[in-house]
């Protein structure tokens, strides 16, 4: 795998490379019969940037992608690619590359014919077509499988071919619609890293839709968290995790303990401890505070709690505890500490800034 990757990188870059385009979605609204799927989405993607759209099912992330591709028309707003409004340009004229969630290789064509298809549609001569297709296949490490048919490939291989097919036309934007969700965990991670490598090599502007936050945080330059048809927050993975703008982001991205607290100026008091407030919070008064499990430690003294369950997660352990008032908290700690169910433990807080929202919002 590593060998293939290294070799592929060395050969592939020159012919396929293209500068990324800017993408701007301005107040994009999409109405289905009686239902507003997108409520005014604004999203700007810089040339060569890798942006992930993350959100729960039904939040509109795939609709955004399909609107950008042209597979869905929009009800209102503008979609600009390199400053050109493409909202009314049909999908086959938008010059985008797309990889779908479902396996979408043409079953009656060989792998090579699949990759050549987009070039044929652009009337590229046969010699260039073949050379570019072979190169694209080598880029994804499948140069030797050109004569096979889709049903002779594994799921991971099919998605690699789909990626090569999407990239061989040197599209302005690459759209990835949950391309890894049908794959098993190991292949998913491999292909995820490979997509990121290829995207970095080619510098192609990429929009990646996923509901898997680990996937989004691992590969994207920036992640746009969507909720109910709009972008709730967009930022680097670190920003989203450490500085969530809303309670939804705080609870959706990573694991957070939601507890009651009181906000007073720049500090929040909760669970008998005082925390600095992250960013700008709501008005002073009762709030819901979001404390990350890794910001709570097991100690010999501190807030007493009873262990409810403890899970081994490989490099760390996550333990759920119950406070005397019934509040349940997750604590993330060293894997060598193994609390038993029912054991009394003590908690301390490391004083990291926490996010807070008005209690009604939570």
């Amino acid at each position: 795998m590593t060998n293939t990757t290294t070799k592929a990188t060395a050969v592939a870059t020159p012919m396929i490379q293209r500068e990324g385009a800017t993408v701007d979605l301005r107040n994009v609204v999409k109405d289905y019969a009686g239902h507003r799927a997108l409520t005014g989405v604004n999203l700007s993607i810089a040339p060569g940037e890798f942006v992930a759209l993350l959100g729960p099912s039904g939040c509109g992330k795939t609709t955004v992608l399909r609107a950008l591709s042209g597979l869905e028309t929009i009800s209102e707003g503008r979609i600009l690619i390199d400053g050109q409004d493409v909202a009314h340009v049909p999908v086959n004229k938008r010059d985008i590359g797309m990889v779908f969630q479902a396996y979408s290789l043409f079953p009656h064509m060989t792998v090579l014919q699949n990759v050549e298809f987009g070039l044929q549609m652009r009337k590229v001569d046969a010699a260039s077509r073949k050379a570019r297709s072979v190169e694209a296949l080598e880029m994804v490490g499948l140069g030797h499988l050109g004569k096979r048919y889709a049903h002779q490939l594994s799921g991971g291989q099919q998605q690699r071919v789909a990626l090569a097919r999407a990239l061989v036309t040197r599209p302005r934007v690459l759209l990835l619609d949950e391309p890894l969700s049908a794959l098993d965990a190991k292949v998913r991670v491999q292909l995820r890293d490979e997509i990121r490598r290829i995207q970095t090599d080619l510098g192609i502007t990429t929009l990646f839709v996923t509901h898997d936050q680990e996937e989004a945080l691992a590969v994207a330059d920036r992640v746009a968290v969507m909720r109910e048809g709009n972008v709730e927050q967009i930022g680097t993975p670190e920003d989203l995790y450490t500085k969530p703008a809303t309670s939804f982001v705080a609870t959706f991205v990573g694991l957070s303990n939601s507890v009651d607290g009181v906000l007073a100026g720049p500090t929040v008091t909760a669970l008998g401890a005082t925390f600095p407030l992250l960013g700008t919070g709501p008005a002073d008064g009762p709030v819901t505070v979001y404390i990350r499990p890794e910001d709570i430690s097991l100690a010999t003294t501190g807030l007493a709690a009873t262990v409810v369950a403890s899970s081994f997660l490989g490099s760390l352990r996550r333990t759920q505890v119950r406070l005397d008032d019934g509040t349940l908290l997750f604590v993330q700690h060293d894997v060598r500490t193994r609390p038993e169910t029912g054991e009394i433990v003590h908690l301390t807080f490391n004083g990291q800034p926490v996010a807070a929202s008005t209690r009604a919002e939570a």
């Binding site: 591709s69 042209g70 597979l71 049909p90 999908v91 086959n92 004229k93 010059d95 985008i96 590359g97 797309m98 779908f100 479902a102 396996y103 979408s104 290789l105 043409f106 079953p107 009656h108 298809f117 987009g118 549609m121 652009r122 048919y149 049903h151 789909a162 097919r165 999407a166 036309t169 759209l175």
Partner: protein, 293 residues
């Protein structure tokens, strides 16, 4: 995963105290299980005999010398091609030509009307899938004679517009073949992600015509061919409508010929059966190919 717990094996110990392999309870015969090879062969032989005997009888009859029960000759076969008999068999050949013309038009109706409608429903209006299926299946539930009674006033209008030609029967037969043509195409459509493939094709720069021609139709080839072959088989076997519409088709001509020259009538009936059999074999071959792929 089965929800029915398997019966626990019963352990046995011999007189020396050794644990014997557990005796598994006898497994009951499953209903719907694949029959044994012997049973399958028996069924095949019996079914084969039931089909072969009438066909053999027809072959023997067609070879029989007129007035003899033991002498055989190929004279009836050669007589078909003798110029002297041209007038005798002209009606039959004309009927065959008419039927082939009706076949061509009916296949055209399937390809130009049914297929695009099914694709349109699949791609744009999937909510209408059930309705389309219902409409296409209806003709199979209505006896031909009832359809014919309904067609009579329609054909009075048709003959005023197009004239009273045999090929106009294709419109009526096009309705009758709907269930047979619909099914193989629907089965093929169900096995191909037409929506995803067309979106993939369009995202790669193909327009709708290119998507249809280069992506969708090649993947529906087996279903379309099966639909066409079944259509041809149905048209060649259709008698009721042609008879009531007083048109000369292969089947109506065959009936007339049967009354004047039963030997040649049987020869053509045999030829039609063999032709249909070959068509069904080809369809079966396509079905096997589809399963294999």
């Amino acid at each position: 995963m089965s929800t029915v717990a398997a019966a626990a094996p019963i352990e046995h110990i011999d007189e020396h105290g050794n644990l014997l392999a557990p005796k598994l309870p006898k497994r009951p015969t499953r209903v719907g299980a694949v029959p044994s090879k012997a049973t399958g062969t028996t069924i095949l032989v019996i079914t084969g005999i039931v089909f072969i005997i009438p066909l053999l009888a027809m072959v023997l009859f067609s070879l029989r010398v007129v007035g003899s029960k033991t002498a055989f000759t190929f004279d009836h076969y050669t007589a078909i091609f003798q110029p002297a008999n041209e007038l005798t068999y002209d009606g039959l050949f004309q009927g065959l030509v008419n039927s082939l013309g009706i076949c061509a038009i009916t296949v055209g109706i399937v390809l130009v009307l049914l297929l695009p409608t099914m694709l349109l429903v699949e791609l744009r209006y999937p909510q209408l899938r059930r309705l389309l299926e219902f409409v296409c299946i209806i003709p199979i539930t209505i006896p031909s004679i009832v359809l014919v009674v309904g067609f009579v006033p329609v054909y009075q209008v048709v003959s005023q517009i197009f004239g009273s030609y045999p090929w106009t029967l294709a419109f009526a037969i096009g309705v009758i073949v709907l269930p047979y043509a619909f099914r193989p195409i629907a089965a093929n459509l169900a096995g191909v992600e037409v929506g995803i493939l067309s979106e993939a094709g369009r995202s790669l720069g193909a327009n709708w015509a290119q998507v249809l021609w280069r992506v969708i139709l090649p993947n529906l080839r087996r279903g379309i061919l099966s639909a066409c072959f079944i259509t041809i088989a149905v048209v060649l076997g259709e008698f009721t409508i042609a008879s009531f519409a007083s048109q000369n088709t292969f089947q109506t001509a065959l009936l007339l010929l049967q009354q004047t020259d039963p030997y040649v009538g049987v020869i053509f009936a045999l030829a039609a059966l063999v032709f249909t059999f070959v068509i069904l074999l080809i369809i079966g071959r396509f079905a096997r190919d589809r399963k294999a792929s």
